[in-house]
């Protein structure tokens, strides 16, 4: 290996190129522009106005942020769902009036007053919600009209109670503390608002109702067709918006303890400014609590700062307007170009030097042994990546459509859909109770009982702390095998790509895959091996403490000890395969069948040592013109557990069985699946034990 090669290898081993794209594709990088604006604002106004960061300044600012932030979150809720609420200023005034009237005029206890106020907010929101959500009025106009409506009601009530509000003194220590006391230098209101904000953050980003809101805003029709009750969701966003406004109004009332004729007047504009500045888009689908808060802080600091600098009001409005335009302009650009940036930087090929093929052996000589393969279910199935045969000889296969097909023994003429799971079904094996355990692309590990009941076993594993992308979800479970103690070991081929992007993972060859163990005894799921290069087929050895697995793009077979004295050890048993190994399964003679899905070529092998070349290729050349592995020819080889290749069988012209991704031996026959085939193959093995069956070999005979 030359020195430059070493340098290239070291550079690609230690510089984490892939992080750039991964960081960019995190949802929070969406906030880059608003966040930069926030930092700039803080820096500029902090310099001009050192008083802002004094104890009093912070106390004051925290109080304002708690009110303004709640309002911004309220509007954000509605805007994520694709609506807008211009009436918040009027609802705010009404709610502040309600709580003050209840406390100061009628002397109600504080909890009653607060509940009453929240109810008023919810009621106003419900009016908007019913009109917009259920009656399908246009949000902009409707809330523009309710703005006038609520304001008129406010103006009718205000003169009757205004004087009493100022003269009355509520008899509540909590209320006084809420407005005037502090804890750790910040007002109580701030902590209340912070808790509410965190709750909404979790709801919006990590809960089903939150996703429903975003779904409705992002694509109303699709959300409706996906079964979301769009009308209810929209209505509820307005109700919650009203309640949040009420909460803000309570904090405001506690701080100022009075309302005036223009309380809340024009508030919708400043809140809207904050929300948009934070990067929430009108029309729905995009927005978060963080955005709302970032926007609010920017707006508050700017208006306060300008006010304090003695800038004429109209001029500070001018400056705010220009800043809003600039920020939105940058944000529009950012949104437009972020995806392009991700597209061009996400794929980050690594250096990999494949071991040369073993040219001294003739075991790989092509032959036509597979030519006489029988076909089962021709045209009935699409993409059987893996096959399985049960104790009675019935043949099962997965399919691209998320179904498990079954052909009944003995002649396999009778075909049925055994179960519908929903995701592309890959590796499958029977456990000791004859349940069919299946790897499902995009969904995780599932099990189908003999009664055809589909049970989810697991769909997430532990999050690894060093990974930028969230790798807790299992998105490309590929093959599995079951250890004698019942533990299921399965491979996840890539955490960076979904099944459709497997060629891209190949171009990258970075070691994005892992092996995960699901333990049915306590239902736990744990990642046991990381950073493998497209780990694919898995087979447990009879010793009960180790397994063999294929690393497809590395063209090798490895052995991993999950128990026993060698626990944790990984050893390459067979390197330098002439093709890309897919699945591996037991043979009746104690050896293993390995399917090579495609064969290596010198051009691609060379390209694997030139990561920058591959990167240029992905950036400049259309995907259709990339160099891909040859998957038009494949073969099945038989190896020993120690890595000795015993024989290879081919279908040279690819006539009867063009692609091989998996094979299972059963009673003297090999059942063959291929991920782009439309059939299952059945091939008679010369000299094989005609009584051997995989479930019996694994779990022993059963009556």
């Amino acid at each position: 290996m030359s020195a430059t090669d070493t340098l290239v290898r070291l550079r690609y081993r230690f510089l984490p190129d892939h992080m750039v794209g991964e960081i960019l594709s995190k949802r929070w990088t969406d906030n880059a522009i608003p966040f930069t604006a926030l930092v700039l604002t803080l820096a500029i106004f902090g310099n001009i106005n050192p008083g802002m960061f004094s104890a009093f300044g912070l106390y004051d600012l925290a109080g304002q942020i708690s009110e303004f932030g709640l309002l911004a979150i309220a509007l954000t809720l509605v805007m994520i769902s694709g609506g807008i609420d211009l009436s918040i200023g009027s609802v705010f005034a009404l709610c502040a009036l309600t709580v003050l009237t209840a406390l100061n005029v009628y002397g109600l206890p504080l909890p009653v007053a607060v509940l009453l106020t929240l109810a008023v907010g919810a009621f106003c929101g419900a009016i908007n919600g019913v009109l917009i959500g259920y009656m399908r009025l246009r949000a902009f106009l409707t809330t523009l009209v309710t703005l006038v409506m609520f304001r008129s009601i406010y103006e009718m009530i205000l003169p009757k109670v205004a004087t009493d509000i100022v003269l009355g003194m509520p008899d509540s220590v909590v209320w006084d503390n809420l407005g005037f006391s502090s804890f750790l230098g910040l007002p109580y209101a701030f902590y209340i608002a912070a808790v509410i904000a965190i709750v909404w953050h979790i709801v919006l980003s990590r809960s089903r109702p939150g996703w429903h809101i975003a779904a409705v805003g992002g694509a109303r029709r699709s959300a409706h067709n996906a079964g979301i009750n769009v009308r209810l969701v929209i209505c509820l966003t307005y109700v919650f918006c009203g309640m949040m406004v009420a909460a803000a109004a309570i904090l405001f009332a506690a701080r100022l303890t009075s309302v005036g004729t223009d309380t809340g007047l024009g508030m919708e504009i400043s809140v809207l400014t904050a929300v948009i500045l934070g990067g929430t888009t009108l029309g729905g689908g995009r927005g978060s609590v963080a955005k709302a808060l970032i926007g609010s802080v920017i707006v508050l600091i700017m208006t306060n700062g300008l006010l304090q600098m003695g800038v004429i009001g109209t001029v500070s409005a001018l400056i705010l307007g220009v800043v809003l335009l600039l920020a939105v302009w940058l944000d529009v650009r950012w949104v437009k170009n972020r995806q392009k940036l991700i597209d061009s930087s996400y794929v980050s090929p690594a250096y990999i030097q494949l071991k040369d093929e073993d040219t001294n052996t003739s075991v790989y000589t092509e032959n036509d042994k597979l030519r006489n393969v029988e076909t089962i279910g021709l045209g009935q199935v699409e993409g059987p990546e893996d096959v399985a045969v049960d104790r009675h000889g019935n043949v099962y296969s997965g399919s691209r459509h998320g179904e498990i097909h079954r052909w009944l023994a003995p002649d396999f003429k009778e075909h049925e859909i055994f179960a519908h799971i929903g995701g592309g079904t890959f590796g499958m094996n029977f456990d000791k109770d004859d349940n069919l355990v299946v790897c499902v692309g995009g969904m995780g590990l599932y099990m189908v009982t003999p009664e055809r009941e589909v049970v989810k076993l697991t769909d997430e594993t532990n999050r690894s702390w060093t990974s930028v992308i969230d790798d807790s979800r299992i998105q490309l479970a590929d093959d599995l095998d079951i250890a004698p103690d019942g533990r299921v070991f399965f491979s996840e081929a890539s955490i960076r790509y979904t099944v459709h992007d497997w060629p891209v993972d190949m171009i990258e060859s970075r070691g994005n895959g892992r092996i995960i163990c699901y333990d049915p005894r306590d239902g736990s799921t744990k990642t046991v091996l990381r950073n493998r290069i497209f780990p694919n087929g898995i087979v447990c050895l009879p010793d009960g403490e180790s397994l063999l697995f294929n690393e497809t793009w590395a063209c090798r077979v490895c052995r991993y000890w999950f128990d026993g004295p060698n626990k944790g050890k990984v050893e390459v048993v067979l390197d330098g395969l002439p093709g890309y190994p897919d699945n591996i399964n037991r043979a009746s003679d104690g050896n293993y069948w390995v399917c090579l899905v495609g064969m290596r070529g010198p051009a691609l092998d060379l390209a694997m040592t030139r990561p920058s070349f591959r990167r240029r290729m992905t950036r400049r050349v259309a995907p259709a013109n990339w160099i891909y592995p040859n998957i038009n020819t494949g073969c099945i080889i038989k190896i020993t557990a120690e890595g000795e290749v015993l024989e290879s069988i081919w279908d040279k012209g690819g006539v009867n069985h063009p692609m091989v991704t998996s094979c299972k031996e059963h009673e003297g026959h090999l059942y063959i699946g291929g991920v782009s085939n439309n059939r299952v193959g059945r091939w008679k093995i010369e000299g094989a034990d005609p009584t051997w069956s995989s479930p019996v070999d694994y779990w022993g005979p059963k009556s």
């Binding site: 106009l141 523009l144 009718m156 694509a219 307007g321 302009w329 529009v332």
Partner: protein, 332 residues
């Protein structure tokens, strides 16, 4: 008026929002005529028309952009700054005509900037104009003028005629309104520019693909709106023999938007025309005039106005329901 509406609108009229609002207007008009003895006098009807002609003219200007799937919330700020500056220049000694010319240049520049931002920076028009309104007013006050009250120059005769004169018994203001309506109608219906606005409002992408110069159209739209606003400002100046910059703080522009939309010009663009604006204007005018005569308080008027508008919106939705399958994404 009613005859004309019926023959022109034909069968579809009574089922559109425009039709609903028109029927409501008729109902209100009849009701007020019966309840209020002096409502149905020519003098009152003229006063009614006159009082809404400013709103109507602004709505006409607004409709130009709304049909093109835009919106212009800077209209009031633009008219205030343009006209107040022109008046200030005059009071400082410049001939009124010259000052008006400069004011016109200024508002065109405002329209140009707004249009450029919408067309080239691709910021949604509602935000562009929302943000530009205070920017425009902030440029006017304090850099071009400071005080809020400005009296019209006294020795300009035509200004007095515009504000107080009448031709054939009809106040000139109403005539100007009619003229603006006619011009905009002709532009929208009979010029290539007008047809382009409809095409753009209906489907901007398709319009661009068929080769329409979208960006120049957008920019000229906003310049036209600014000029209409400037003209309205002149009418305001003439009719009150002065102008108060506090106007920029009012919610007048939202009333304008409501008139446009109530008349049946959807915010999603491509629909409606001058007739819709006139229907919307008449509706608001009738309502306001009746309530003023009834001597209701401003608060009560606002409440009633909002309730009636809501009823009109609800009626439209009931007659023309929208559902999840047909509603446009991002159409608020």
């Amino acid at each position: 008026m009613s005859e004309k509406e019926k023959t022109k609108g034909g069968k579809g009229l009574s089922f559109s929002q425009e039709g609903i609002v028109f029927l409501l207007t008729l109902a209100l008009f009849v009701a007020f005529s019966i309840i209020l003895p002096n409502f149905l006098t020519s003098g009152n009807v003229i006063a009614l028309m006159r009082s809404v002609s400013i709103l109507g003219m602004l709505a006409l200007g607004m409709s130009l952009v709304v049909i093109g799937r835009g919106v212009d919330l800077t209209m009031v700020a633009t008219l205030v700054v343009g006209v107040v500056w022109a008046v200030k220049l005059t009071n400082d000694g410049m001939p009124f005509g010259e000052a008006l010319f400069y004011g016109g240049l200024l508002v065109s520049a405002f329209g140009l900037i707004v249009g450029l931002i919408v067309a080239f920076a691709e910021i949604p028009p509602i935000f562009t104009t929302l943000a530009m309104a205070p920017v425009i007013f902030g440029i006017g006050n304090p850099f071009l003028f400071k005080q809020d009250t400005h009296n019209a120059p006294r020795n300009v005769e035509w200004l007095g005629d515009l504000g107080f004169g009448a031709t054939l018994g009809i106040p000139n203001t109403i005539l100007v309104f009619g003229l603006v309506a006619l011009v905009i109608h002709l532009i929208l219906r009979y010029t290539r520019f007008g047809r382009s606005i409809y095409a753009m409002g209906d489907n901007p992408l398709a319009a661009r693909m068929t080769g329409l110069p979208l960006r120049p159209i957008i920019v000229s739209q906003y310049i036209m709106t600014a000029l209409v606003a400037y003209l309205v400002g002149l009418v305001i100046l003439a009719s009150n023999s002065g102008i108060n910059s506090r106007l920029a703080y009012t919610t007048l522009v939202y009333d304008v938007l409501l008139v446009v939309v109530l008349g049946g010009i959807g915010l999603s663009g491509g629909r409606g025309g001058v007739r819709n604006v006139i229907v919307g204007t008449l509706f608001v005018g009738t309502l306001l005039s009746g309530m003023t005569i009834l001597n209701l308080s401003l608060t009560a008027q606002n409440l009633i106005k909002s309730v009636v508008m809501m009823l009109a919106l609800i009626a439209d939705t009931l007659v023309n329901p929208r559902d999840e399958q047909t509603s446009q994404q991002g159409d608020i």
